[in-house]
Amino acid sequence: MIGQEEAIDLARGVADLVSDQFDSRALHAFVDSGALRSLRLSAMARELGCFALALPEALGGLGLGIADLVPTYQVLGVSMPPLPVLSSALAGDLLAQADADYWIAHLQDGEGFAVSLPPWSDLRLERGRDEGKLKGTLDFVLDGADARFLLARADSDSGPVWLALEVAAGGVTCARVPLIDETRNAARITLEDITISPRSIIAEGQSARQLDDRLAVHAALALAADSLGGARAILDKTIDYMKVREQFGRPIGSFQALKHRAANLHLKATVAQALLDEAVEAQRDGDLSAAMLAHLAFAQVADAYAAIAQDCLQLHGGIGFTRAHDAHIHLKRAKLNLALLGGTDAALEAAAHLVTR
């Protein structure tokens, strides 16, 4: 039985290993290829247990809670490998909470899972005596393009229901949605009167509502951590550039206006890190303010990533605008992050409803 600190370090170490295999050259080669995944990288990540991090130790994971996963998400936000780590962790955490053994087994086998995220789509489950019928469309499912299983949240006469289903099942249409962010994939999944067996229902009623909230917090913290990793990465690159790029006979970093701008960006990233740390600690300690802080962290940090990436591209001048540079990759990731979970508007509203001091 490994200790919590050890587990956190192990997970981060695994993320570091994967990142070492996915340097800038590999990143650009991948992005330019238009491929869905890097099969070699996915195989390595699977071997290292990247997709089972959230499962309990007894089930082959590292038993990491939401707060514990944040450092891993942050490391991956730096290197941006095309791996469904977030989706697997969201799924693993939900399934572990729900004790959904049958589906956990699939996760253990390394099968790809995608999870529907808030804001919830209109999925409707009509309950029958034994089976139910599910219909509706999920417009945007992250990692949906190659997932084998889907965790979806539907409404029913008896309230919210969390379901697990096989994407290859009859009545499920999965269409890849090409993204501006070339490091991630998504799909539109349409469900036409799918027969739902009792086994597919992993939570309902009050349990389902709890999973709703838990997923929202997990996704918020994960995207905040991803944003911070990416923001620091592009900022560090920019500062290094400003030290060596010379124009007018001197490094451009020697111009006061640019120095101030770099300082402002660093300030923004530093405060964002501190806010994320605050939210993580509240989550770990089970504070009443944890959920509020998670949503605030997403709103602020995702915004910060976009602002930092935007300015860092500009600070590089012409080369910042080229595909060959990392700047546009970060900027596109930042913009996608900002569009997820209903954006900062939804996050700030959610926080407003959760105010506790």
Binding site: D139, F140, V177, P178, L179, I180, D181, E246, Q247, F248, G249, R250, I252, S254, F255, Q256, A257, L258, Q310, L313, Q314, G317, G318, G320, F321, T322, R323, A324, H325, A327, H328, L331, K332, K335, L336, L338, A339, L340, G343, D345
Partner: protein
């Protein structure tokens, strides 16, 4: 490949310009002409089209505009233009924008920077040889200014022009050259005197892009296009007759070229932006989309709209006051920032649907076609034509008289 386009008549026609004295008739005539010549579905047909198709389409449209005198309305009569007054130019750009007509992006440099340069410093022979080529033959020009080590500090450029018998031998490399891959000619800055102070050793040339030793390579861009190019020059010969002005005067003449980038070219773009934002305002008032019902987004939009109205007036005033360089710098910075903020706002209200990649229509980054490519294309304005940073220096130092940064000796 473009058989759905009408064939352009060979002869020029006065049908539109003959009505320019009555703005009402002029406007109606232009509107009717666009409706007749431009297929309504041009944008859809060009979605996902390759570069070759984009170039062919641009050439077709430019020829159409040229036949009826709409391609270069701002050219003075000395360049066989009609020196159309500002009011007339506004009508043209408004009608083109209203019809969602293509912007002649392949020709931007050819119709603004080239006449600005040749009318300022070209010889009579050079003007007679080259300006009609743009209007009559659709010659495409590109800029050969920036280098990998000479971006903001353009004056430190190192491409060499060695004086030889009958002309010059050019060696070096240029970068960020728009339309370089399709250009017939290039306005090239090169160093003729390495010993002279850096601003004084530069000369300005017309380079025939078909010359031996010219190698052009497109650069992939963040917005998914590759409009910019690297140009490698390996023992390229330029005849004496193609020197613009005198040897060593290139830097001064280039200021006229750079000024074109910061004034008139933005005029057309702001007229288009005005129309786009008016349309959005109408949409807000009419259909009340979710962004209008969201107070924050609505206020953000109105604030951007206010900014745009101010900038549009500033540019129109600037056009009438004949190129005050301070106004040009202000206009360029203001427009670039507004464009970035507005396109960013459009991305934001687009939510997840704005993050979906659609097949691009090349050269239409400023058409409000797709939120993310439009937003990414805004960097073309914040970075090229003088970065916003350099222009702020110009505004502060030359405009406001603030002291220059002290020069540090390394």
């Amino acid at each position: 490949m473009l058989d759905w386009l009408p064939k352009t008549p060979d002869a020029n026609s006065d049908v539109l310009l003959s009505q320019r004295d009555d703005l009402g008739s002029f406007r109606e005539a232009i509107r009717a002409w666009i409706a007749e010549r431009l297929p309504a579905d041009w944008l859809q047909r060009l979605r996902g089209a390759d570069h070759e198709t984009y170039v062919a389409f641009q050439k077709w449209w430019f020829a159409e505009l040229s036949r009826v005198g709409l391609a270069t309305p701002h050219w003075p009569t000395g360049a066989a233009g009609v020196a159309l007054p500002l009011s007339g130019q506004i009508v043209i750009y408004e009608e083109l924008a209203r019809a969602g007509a293509p912007s002649p992006t392949l020709y931007a440099f050819s119709i603004y920077h080239v006449p600005a340069t040749l009318l300022h410093a070209g010889t009579g022979e050079q003007r007679a040889k080259y300006l009609p080529g743009v209007r009559e033959r659709g010659d495409v020009w590109c800029q050969g200014f920036s280098e990998p080590n000479a971006g903001s500090d353009l004056a430190s450029l190192r491409t060499q022009a060695e004086k030889i018998d009958g002309g010059y031998r050019i060696n070096g490399q240029k970068i960020w050259s728009s339309s370089g891959a399709d250009a017939d000619y290039c306005l090239l800055l090169a160093r003729t005197d390495a010993a002279a102070p850096k601003h004084k050793g530069i000369s300005y040339f017309i380079l025939d892009m078909r010359s031996a030793g010219v190698d052009v390579r497109p650069i992939g861009q963040a917005n998914g296009e590759s409009e910019f190019n690297e140009i490698f020059l390996d023992d390229v010969f330029i005849p004496d007759a193609e020197l613009i002005g005198k040897q060593g005067e290139g830097w001064g003449i280039a200021q006229a070229t750079l000024a074109a980038e910061r004034g008139i070219i933005i005029f057309e773009l702001v007229e288009r932006l005005r129309l786009a934002m008016d349309a959005r305002l109408d949409e807000g008032l009419g259909a009340e989309p979710s962004w209008w019902r969201n107070g924050t987004r609505r206020h953000e939009f109105l604030s951007l709209y206010a900014e745009m109205r101010g900038i549009q007036r500033l540019i129109r005033q600037g056009m009438e006051s004949e190129g005050d360089p301070l106004v040009a710098s202000l206009v360029k910075v203001a427009y670039a920032e507004l464009l970035q903020h507005y396109t960013d706002w459009v991305v934001r209200i687009g939510g997840l649907s704005a993050q979906v990649a659609e097949p691009l229509t090349l050269g239409t980054g400023r058409h409000g076609e797709m939120p993310m490519p439009d937003y990414l294309s805004s960097y073309i304005w914040t970075i090229s034509g003088g970065t916003n940073e350099v222009l702020r220096n110009i505004i502060a130092e030359r405009g406001l008289g603030l002291p220059r940064d002290p020069i540090k000796t390394p």
